[in-house]
Symmetry: D2
């Protein structure tokens, strides 16, 4: 992992929300940077492909692509090239988000590409067994999304905490080093605090911040919560 | 089609060539702009997603994405949103290139999205029957790639010209309006001239320009050839 | 189209319903055959891959695969080969059902394969524009599913009939020969009668028959309705 | 694993070879059964979907599908249902062959489905890291295909044996129980003997048997080789 990425780590996934597209994406990125500078908490952001270059030039915090393809430079119209993402100044990339799931062999190939290019890989996994399989591929960061928590609106602090701890245990048996983020149900500061308390090293958030009335304040609370 | 797009039209597909990534993409874009301004020939460029915003701000010629996804704004991590492409200042998008083939229903959905967003759709088709099917979907531009010509190194001027004329005839029976580009085997100025003579309204080129030792000169020759 | 296929035509899609799997698929196939023999109405059935061989041997009515892949014999583990389907005695195949949508280029390739193998192609299309595009590919049969009718439970007889007639008109402009089936909202005998009255040459049905308490009686009613 | 599956185990993948389609598939299956009965070596076969039912009824050796889909019974036109494969009498299924690669989440889901249905899962993996990831998903059988050996024509006995032993070591750290087959470069009896000597518990073969002039004799030699 690159030096500027420290744990606890918060990554904000901009998805393809209009609230995080174009000029609005840049403004949101600057708010995230502001919180990071004020709180000294490591905050990464994952804007859309078309916004990466502008944002990576404008902010000092780590920027991630939301996906890259398992390709080498060449004849691959419409694909996302690691070299192109890297040249924007981006730090790394998310892959295998539940909204952009990949073939196992592609995940493995992309992790190899990021390693070779000195880019940080953040691989999403949406249940404990899949988390274990991803851990075996040795990515830099693993974002786990316990299925009991996705889309339920139930924060991890109220859900059975053993789902998270069991996932962590399974992953650690296979890979003691990978940084583990918790990626579902994070919408209140308590959720961040509990996620860390259960043994993860940060959170992957999206609508909780992007669609908040006041993203700065929410993200600031999340950042403060990592210190408790 | 937007006013600034006129025929004959040359579109340069940057693919994921290193020679057309990042700073090099910007330089290539400026060369294309220079040729267009000097020759008064309409030239469009299709850089990678990560380069679109920078290039669209820097040049006055039409910029295209190489692909967009059939999605609406929302939870679509790792996808390419029409609104995001449009906000960069891009004119439209290529879709269904032979290196990024799409489901029929997605092609139809993307054409609908571009129409609604006032973006220009350039749909690729790699044989006559597929060209006819695409024509039925009423895109703005259809880029045909006669299979006999792809990757053979044989320019259209030497290949049997009836392949092109037959494709045009099939397309015209279904759609009299769509702008037809010829998209394979274009590497010499004669190829451009013959493509137009056979009834197409322009060309879709890639390596012939991008990987040329002197892209400016090659593209300038292509542009001049549209006038013969 | 093969001689044994006449219009009006009813095709029953078995999908992967348990009520139409294994022994139950064979029993359902025999009921369909019984109705066809009693009513002299052409009825085809589309069972699962694993049931095709047994059923094609046991019944005299046309049997269809639910999908085939755009492949030639060779190294294609886990794919469905046209030759293998044909050798079971099957008449043809459905493709591009909304539950198994295909790339445009694959649809074109599969239609070519079926034509070469003298198999009947039944291509599904889920809106008018897509129907027109499919018509341009010249399949034997086109099964249209007007989007207003899918999954709404509203039979075609109550929905706006111009949706069906407009789709037929669009298709006929491009392809005057293709047999057109109506494939959504068919659950009562009146729906069959109205579908034919609006200009289609038959229906593609699934749960309306497969999940009926008495599939024989429902299908018998559908068959009789084609005569009104 | 089911009782009738013992190690050493040979699985013959019929792919979509014409030599292993329809009647020819049945004949090949009977030859495999003959070898198994004569040598008391466990031999499984993986015919095409359309041939599974006929073959599973005709032979006493284990029959595998070449793929199943991660679906439940219902509206899944053109997919392969576990229940349908199981009802033919098949023992289990291959999945994730390099010719039919799957999303990680689908592999995990299919393994869960096979476990619930008491079917044997044989998951293919085409390099050491992917083998480790698959091992974490706890399939019954893992078929490893060291990339150095695929399609090179170089048998495992002549290639660097540490590729196989390293893969086995990586897999065993994560999963001590999974049966490991060696799935590339197996075309001579020595290859089988060496594969077992290196620590695998059997082989996954295809063209070496299917396309042999005398499949019975080749398979008989492979079976004998497991005893040395």
């Amino acid at each position: 992992m690159q030096e500027k990425l420290q744990t606890p780590l918060i990554i904000v996934n901009f998805k393809t929300y209009l609230e995080a597209t174009g000029d609005k994406a840049l403004k949101l990125a600057k708010k995230a940077e502001k919180v990071s500078l004020e709180t000294f908490v490591s905050i990464g952001i994952a804007p859309q492909f078309t916004d990466i270059a502008t944002i990576a030039k404008a902010v000092s915090i780590p920027v991630f692509a939301q996906h890259i393809d398992p390709i080498q430079p060449g004849s691959h119209t419409g694909h996302v090239l690691a070299e192109a993402v890297k040249e924007t100044g981006a730090t790394g990339t998310l892959i295998n988000h539940s909204e952009r799931q990949l073939k196992l062999s592609d995940i493995e190939e992309i992790i190899k590409i990021t390693r070779k290019k000195n880019m940080v890989s953040v691989v999403c996994a949406n249940n404990p067994a899949i988390s274990a399989a991803v851990a075996a591929l040795k990515p830099d960061i693993l974002a786990i999304e316990p299925p009991e928590l996705i889309g339920t609106g139930i924060p991890v602090s109220k859900a059975k905490p053993e789902v998270v701890t069991n996932t962590i245990r399974l992953v650690r048996e296979i890979n003691p080093k990978v940084v583990i983020l918790c990626g579902a149900g994070i919408s209140h500061r308590e959720d961040v605090a509990v996620a860390l308390k259960l043994g993860t090293q940060g959170v992957l958030v999206a609508s909780g911040v992007v669609k908040a009335k006041d993203p700065y304040t929410v993200l600031r609370e999340f950042a403060e919560a990592t210190k408790t």
